[in-house]
């Protein structure tokens, strides 16, 4: 889409590009929305340590930007309404639902997806533990489960198996691999606790 020549539009785009300066629209006096509302805008996302420049509509969610624009299809679309957790990614180390996050709202944060957890060929300990404990069947929820578990460990509130179940409840597994998911998370947690007492 070619950039608009409309001065308000240009100011708006520059405002967003500048990372938070809201120009142009604030001065609008007309009650009517502009006819070209919702046009693609430039944004810079940091995904798994890499800066990616995109030109997409503000209504594109982070999940759709990852999957459809950046072709990082590890993050899955289950419900698309924040109810299943398959889309879970980390922003600045905190687990969030990427289906309810606008891509443009994530600009400026460090996004980590399932593709960013392994170091080269070396799996993240949680990835390895999910394989060891057979913590999935179909695998569709697994990227979200693992990203969620990374967030859970960083939060540090889950001690018992019951805590893990409660604090992993934002990730639904329709194959019912829950017992093995809890075992995988607990093994990695306990190993981490031994290494960093």
């Amino acid at each position: 889409m070619a950039p608009s020549d409309d001065p308000d539009r240009r100011d708006f785009i520059q405002g967003v590009t500048a990372g938070g300066l809201a120009l142009g629209l604030g001065a609008a006096t007309s009650a009517d929305p502009p006819a070209d509302v919702g046009q693609p805008i430039p944004m810079k996302l940091t995904i798994n340590g890499q800066d990616r420049e995109l030109q997409i509509e503000p209504r594109v969610t982070l999940l759709d930007a990852l999957r459809e624009v950046l072709h990082l299809t590890g993050s899955k679309k289950g419900c698309d309404h924040g109810q299943c957790g398959a889309c879970t990614v980390l922003i600045d180390g905190r687990r969030v639902n990427s289906c309810l996050t606008l891509a443009v709202a994530a600009a400026g944060g460090q996004v980590t997806t399932i593709e960013g957890l392994a170091k080269g060929e070396e799996l993240h300990p949680l990835q390895a533990a999910f394989i060891k404990h057979d913590a999935f069947q179909c695998g569709y929820c697994t990227p979200g489960q693992i990203c969620s578990a990374v967030g859970l460990m960083a939060e540090g509130h889950a001690k018992s198996d019951a805590d893990v179940r409660e604090l992993m409840s934002g990730n639904i597994c329709r194959c019912g691999a829950y017992p093995n998911i809890v075992a995988a998370v607990q093994e990695v947690q306990q190993l981490a606790a031994k290494e960093n007492p």
Partner: protein
């Protein structure tokens, strides 16, 4: 979602101006409610003004009370040391809601603006006076198992979904805002409106008025407070019934009681009559059962939700018993 523009506000005043300038603009906080509803076409906005990075993200605890910035995330508030020790009911309510991911995203201001889970509101096309004024209410004679029994009207029986707000209702909270008419404070009891014949108007806020903080006064008795939530599954579900309670007990007698209900009201439901019924009584199961009866005295069931009335009475009684058993 229908197309919309996006701006990141560089201050509360700028954000207010940007939303005021467009009648269908909205503030964007964590997005957990707003983006969901926009995907369902239950809400349409042509401009979202992102306020989520404004520096209203502190929890300031002093002897006089606690000021909670509107952008404090639910998870950060729930695990804050001052909240856990001084207002356990607030921490418990937050941790009973949604999922860890959603709690990491959702803001306190957004939670106050949370909208109903009524399926006829959310589906974007059924008759719903809240979504389309004067279009009717499909819930009145529809599947209304999840709907409210307190504060309803002939125009709307939608349940208020928040857990946090039920806890705030017993904590003498005030809501601080800035808007087109300047700054003001709103007592929490006046923040949410009853549906009446205008269920589309849910809060006291004007268009473009932004929540900046929630204030809690110091409440020494709030250390003995508790939130109990009853739902269809053990986690990650909205309340069928819930109760936020606090008790001040001295010399074996209740000096002061606070009770609010969730899952049963069209707004966070403070049960003042039930509170009065407990003052001067001994903390016994009989007194707590009577408080539960008093809290639901005005309840009006529909076809599928009558079960909520006895369930809510027992929820109140059990929450009070648990609070009474806490160290004071």
């Amino acid at each position: 979602m229908t197309p919309f523009d996006y701006v990141r506000a560089d201050g509360p005043d700028a954000a207010v101006k940007q939303v005021v300038a467009r009648p269908t603009a909205a503030f964007l906080g964590g997005g957990t409610g707003l983006i969901d509803l926009m995907k369902l076409y239950a809400e349409r906005h042509d401009l979202l003004v992102d306020v989520s990075r404004l520096p209203m993200d502190k929890v300031e605890a002093t002897e006089k009370g606690v000021r909670i910035g509107a952008n404090v995330r639910n998870s950060d508030l729930a695990y804050h040391a001052a909240i856990r020790t001084r207002f356990p009911v607030l921490s418990e309510a937050l941790l009973s809601g949604a999922s860890p991911q959603l709690r990491n995203m959702a803001t306190v201001g957004g939670n106050l603006m949370q909208r109903t889970r009524c399926p006829y509101f959310r589906d974007g096309h059924s008759a719903c006076n809240k979504r389309v004024p004067k279009s009717g209410c499909a819930a009145l004679d529809g599947v209304n198992r999840g709907h409210a029994v307190l504060g309803t009207s002939d125009h709307c029986i939608a349940t208020h979904p928040s857990d946090l707000c039920v806890a705030l209702a017993i904590l003498d909270a005030t809501v601080r805002t800035t808007g087109p008419k300047g700054e003001r404070t709103i007592p929490f009891a006046d923040f949410h409106r009853l549906p009446g014949d205008t269920p589309d108007r849910e809060t006291a806020l004007d268009h473009g008025e932004l929540i900046t903080a929630v204030d809690l006064p110091a409440l020494p008795w709030a250390t003995r407070s508790h939130y109990l939530k009853v739902r269809d599954r053990a986690s990650y579900e909205f309340a069928l019934t819930s109760a936020a309670v606090a008790l001040e007990i001295a010399d074996g007698v209740i000096k002061q009681a606070r009770i609010a209900l969730g899952g049963v009201g069209t707004k966070p439901w403070r049960a003042a009559e039930a509170e009065k019924a407990l003052v001067g009584k001994k903390p016994t199961p009989e007194a707590f059962a009577a408080a539960g009866d008093a809290a639901l005295a005005g309840a009006v069931p529909r076809q599928h939700n009558a079960f909520k009335i006895p369930l809510a009475k027992r929820t109140v009684a059990r929450a009070l018993a648990a609070a009474a058993a806490m160290p004071g």
